[in-house]
């Protein structure tokens, strides 16, 4: 029995969520502020990873960042390593798989920040950047946290896309969900049970966190009314 898959999954999910967050926060803000048809279309596009089968998504990623692709070659030149069949590849795959959950939660939270509050802050002379940090982010942090929790759980549990991009190399790219499959196939029921149990525990913790956040939101809502 080895704990490496758990360690790898946590690491991959952490960086995948971080990567997603860096992209999702400004994008979500842009989606709530600008209503150009192209932006709306791009907004809808961010849901695509939720609908596409993870294997198909993984396949596209493989084409996009594989050793033959421009991005893959650039990455190889810069780092001397390949993106595919590496834990970084797994980060990319699970980040894209979990991205719709992250961005929809953040977008939803930001769209609930009253335009009057933003207008009031701007009229008091503060730059849009300052208003974003002092008004928009603090007022949508719960949405951001719940997006992060969901995306982290989703990234940690990804199987299809990660397998396509990063493969199943024990000790290198074998994450939890892949290890469960692997243990199952090789008849190691003890390992499979153990890993499944941990995955379930993580899922329950995330659900509990989301539940607590929701309670708090309701509580504050009541107070405001």
């Amino acid at each position: 029995m080895t704990l490496f898959p758990l360690y790898l999954s946590l690491k991959v999910a952490f960086f995948a969520t971080l990567l997603g967050l860096i992209a999702a926060v400004p994008l979500a803000w842009a989606f709530t502020q600008y209503h150009h048809p192209l932006i709306k279309w791009f907004n809808s596009l961010t849901t695509l990873p939720l609908i596409l089968p993870p294997t198909v998504l993984g396949y596209y990623l493989l084409v996009l960042v594989g050793r033959q692709s421009a991005i893959g070659q650039l990455y190889e030149q810069l780092t001397g390593k390949t993106l595919v069949f590496s834990w970084q590849g797994a980060v990319l795959a699970s980040s894209i798989v979990s991205f719709p959950l992250l961005i929809s939660a953040i977008r939803n939270a930001m769209s609930h920040v009253s335009p009057d509050l933003i207008a009031a802050a701007r009229l008091l002379g503060h730059s849009n950047w300052h208003v974003f940090w002092t008004i928009v982010l603090p007022l949508s942090w719960r949405g951001i946290i719940s997006g992060v929790a969901l995306a982290f759980a989703r990234a940690m549990g990804d199987f299809g896309a990660t397998l396509m991009v990063a493969g199943n190399i024990p000790g290198v790219t074998q994450t939890m969900s892949i290890a469960v499959y692997d243990a199952m196939m090789s008849g190691d029921i003890v390992q499979a049970n153990f890993l499944a149990l941990i995955m379930t525990a993580v899922a329950i913790i995330v659900l509990f966190l989301l539940y607590r956040l929701e309670q708090k939101v309701h509580h504050e809502h009541d107070r405001n009314v």
């Binding site: 009253s114 509050l117 802050a121």
Partner: protein
């Protein structure tokens, strides 16, 4: 003659109509924009504040251009030096009262000086004890006091009040109105108030503008709007409930005599619009506001525009009563509405006196 400190003349296409505004505010003046909901009054304020962009026009404040479509200039809200008070306060819910005020001072004052200023401003609205409370822990009136103070704290050149009292009950409105008037003198800041309440606009502003479907119907000193409405629409909006068709039968230096068939009376009026005076005999509309009509207990010799009436209906209010009266013997005619502070009637029929200086005439 005072100089205009604020000018706005612009066009903006809105969803259901076009907004065409033309406003001027002179030094020391305050303006009330009066109109029903959906008439474009809030949109006007938003355009002035730079929150929406007109297609065409010019907005200037204290010699600075805020917007000029010809030059392609559009100052962002941050640079307009405009204070804005929202209908629903728009206090930052995650900041305390003191932090909300502090947010308005952050760019101009630092450290101890800022703290002192916050304290002083909170004293002014009697909320020092609530400094560390959150907006949700305050009453509506307290929240609006903070919102007003926050808007003023940034030392704006113009204050925009967007139906600031409509979410408050009557008792608090009076208190807030007094505060606004106090701020007007203590902070010396001109303001534009948007409201659908004539009484409120009259109490707080020097000038009124009536808008409907995005168009200015009339702009002028409030007394002039009340006494000399230029159109039937404006007359109705400023509460002139009594409007009759009439015919000018002779004209003097400025006024004349108008025959009103509905009352079967010849009424003397002190001022007639030029068009009606020069084209006599001509059709005009004659009107008077319910509060300007005077109820007499009997005939008074020598007083013009006086005739016996009968009261056909009345509504008793707290401050005053509304009476619906008709000329004696003409019960089937349209009733004249009058507003009296209270009345006692003798045995004789009462008389109605329509003061010649309070009557107004319209040509359209």
């Amino acid at each position: 003659m005072s100089l205009p400190i604020f000018q706005a003349k612009f066009k903006k296409t809105l969803y259901s109509f076009n907004l065409e505004l033309d406003l001027i505010l002179n030094e020391g003046e305050t303006l009330g924009i009066l109109g029903p909901s959906g008439s474009g009054k809030s949109m006007s304020l938003r355009a002035i504040a730079g929150l929406i962009k007109p297609e065409h026009g010019v907005i200037s404040l204290k010699g600075r251009f805020l917007f000029d479509s010809d030059k392609g200039f559009d100052a962002p809200p941050q640079q307009r030096r405009i204070g804005y008070v929202f209908q629903h306060y728009a206090l930052f819910p995650h900041m305390t009262v003191a932090e909300n005020i502090s947010y308005a001072l952050a760019r101009t004052l630092k450290g101890v000086k800022r703290k002192e200023r916050i304290h002083k401003l909170l004293e002014e609205i009697r909320l020092t004890e609530h400094a560390s409370r959150y907006p949700s822990q305050l009453s509506g009136g307290q929240q609006q006091r903070v919102a007003l103070m926050r808007a003023l704290a940034a030392d704006p050149d113009l204050l925009l009040l967007d139906e600031p009292f409509s979410a408050l009950d009557a008792e608090l409105r009076g208190e807030l109105e007094a505060l606004v008037l106090r701020f007007r003198s203590s902070h010396n800041v001109p303001y534009i108030l948007v409201t659908h309440n004539l009484e409120e606009a009259y109490r707080l502003c020097d000038k009124l503008v009536i808008i409907e479907q995005g168009k200015v119907l009339q702009l002028g000193p409030k007394e002039e709007l009340l006494r000399r409405p230029q159109t039937l629409e404006v007359a109705r909006k400023v509460g002139a409930k009594n409007l009759w068709e009439g015919e000018v039968i002779n004209t003097g230096t400025s006024g004349g005599t108008v025959y009103v068939p509905a009352l079967n009376e010849e009424l003397i009026i002190h001022s007639l619009p030029e068009a009606a005076a020069t084209l006599a005999p001509s059709k005009v509309w004659l009107g008077i506001r319910p509060v300007e009509a005077v109820l007499l207990s009997g005939p008074e010799p020598g007083l013009p525009n006086t005739f016996p009436i009968e009261i056909i209906n009345q509504i008793r209010g707290v401050q005053s009563h509304t009476l619906f009266v008709t000329p004696l013997g003409k019960r089937d005619g349209e009733a004249i509405q009058i507003e009296v502070p209270g009345h006692r009637l003798g045995a004789d029929p009462p008389y109605l006196y329509l003061p010649p200086d309070k009557l107004f005439a319209l040509t359209h």
